[in-house]
Symmetry: C2
Subunit: 191 residues, 2 copies
C-alpha cells in the first residue's frame, strides 16, 4: 500500500452521469454533469456545479429552476451527446421527450427513469471555474416500470456511472445492505 | 414511460460510499457518507454533507480539516461498520491504518486506494438536518498498485457504489468513453 502524491486533484469514485435540464430562452436544453450530489434530506437539497460559460447557466439563472435526470445505460449515447455539443450552437430540445412538473420551467426527460425538479435556493461562486447551484427538490418522478415500492430497482433502472477517469459504466452486483453488512465486523478476528 | 410523483425526495444514482476522516480530540475517527461530490477543478473543491449531531463534525470544526477516502469492495464490511457505530461510544481509530499528509490533522486511510485531504473553506447551513463542509483539496494520494498513469484502474481500485435505496454495489463493465461515445448520435437514424 505505497501511496503516491497526485497533486491537489479529485479522485472521487463513483460519480453520477446526470442530465441537467433548464429552459434557455424558453427552450429545453440538457447537459451531462457528474458534479452533483445530495446535500440534505429535510428540506431536500441537491446541487450541481457548472462551468461558468455553459449555455445551461443562462436558463438556470433566467428561471431560478432546473432539473436533474438520471439516465439509463440504454441512452448513454444521447447522454454523452449532450456533453459534446453546446446549446449555443445546437438545438438539443429534440434529443429527448420533455415533460414539465410543478415548477413549469424545469424541463425533464421522459426517457430517464428518475427526475427531480429543483428551485434554486443558493448560488455559490468561489472565484474559480464553476458556479454551484443549490436546489430544493420540489417534486420527484420515477418511471412506474422500474419501481419496486418506493425505490427504483437498480437492475431495471440501470443507471449510468461516471468514473473520474472519463468513462461510463454499468452497475455490477450488490455486495450488501448499508447499516447491515457492517455488523459482521464484530464477528471478525482482529489484529 | 408513465411517471409517478414520489414527493420531494432524492433519487440520484449512483452515489459514492466515501469514508470521511477527522481527528476528534486528537484521535482519528471515520464515518461513511454518500453525500459528497466534486464542485470545482480549479481550485479543486469538494463537499461533504453531515447530519449535525454526527461526532465527526466536532473534529472537522476543531481542525478545519477532513479527508475523503475511497474504499474498495474488499473493505465493505469495515466501511459500513463506520456508519453503524458512533465515535461517541466506539473507538474507530483502529479499524484502519491511519496516515497523515500536508495538513497533519486530517487522518487518511491506508487501505483505501484513493485519499483526498481537505481544508474547510466554507460551511453551509440551510437550517435543516445537515451541515455542508466545502473543502479545498490540498493533496491527493493513490495507492501505487491501482495506478495506470495518472488514473486508478477501476478494476484494480474496485470502488464501492452506494445506491440510493441503501445497498452497496460493485462496478460492472464500461459502456463507453465520455466526450466520445456521444458522437455516435450523429450517425443514428432520427425520428
Amino acid at each position: 500500500m505505497i501511496k503516491k502524491e497526485m497533486g491537489a486533484r479529485h479522485y472521487l469514485f463513483p460519480q453520477p452521469a446526470a442530465l441537467i435540464g433548464a429552459n434557455v430562452h424558453g427552450k429545453p436544453n440538457y447537459l451531462v454533469a457528474a458534479w452533483c450530489g445530495v446535500m440534505q434530506a429535510q428540506p431536500p437539497l441537491i446541487y450541481v456545479a457548472l462551468r461558468k460559460e455553459r449555455y445551461t447557466l443562462i436558463g438556470i439563472e433566467e428561471n431560478g429552476t432546473y432539473s436533474i435526470n438520471v439516465p439509463s445505460a440504454d441512452i448513454v449515447v444521447e447522454t454523452d451527446y449532450c456533453g459534446t455539443v453546446s446549446g449555443k450552437d445546437t438545438d438539443k430540445s429534440k434529443v429527448f421527450t420533455t415533460f414539465y412538473g410543478k415548477l413549469e420551467t424545469a424541463p425533464m426527460i421522459k426517457e430517464c427513469p428518475a427526475n427531480m425538479e429543483c428551485r434554486v435556493v443558493d448560488v455559490l461562486d468561489f472565484g474559480g471555474t464553476h458556479k454551484m447551484f443549490i436546489g430544493e427538490i420540489v417534486m420527484s418522478y420515477v418511471t412506474e416500470d422500474v419501481l419496486a415500492g418506493d425505490w427504483p430497482e437498480i437492475k431495471k433502472m440501470d443507471p449510468i456511472i461516471f468514473s473520474t477517469d472519463g468513462t461510463y459504466w454499468r452497475f455490477g452486483y450488490s455486495i450488501g445492505k448499508a447499516y447491515k453488512i457492517g455488523k459482521e465486523y464484530h464477528h471478525r478476528p482482529k489484529g
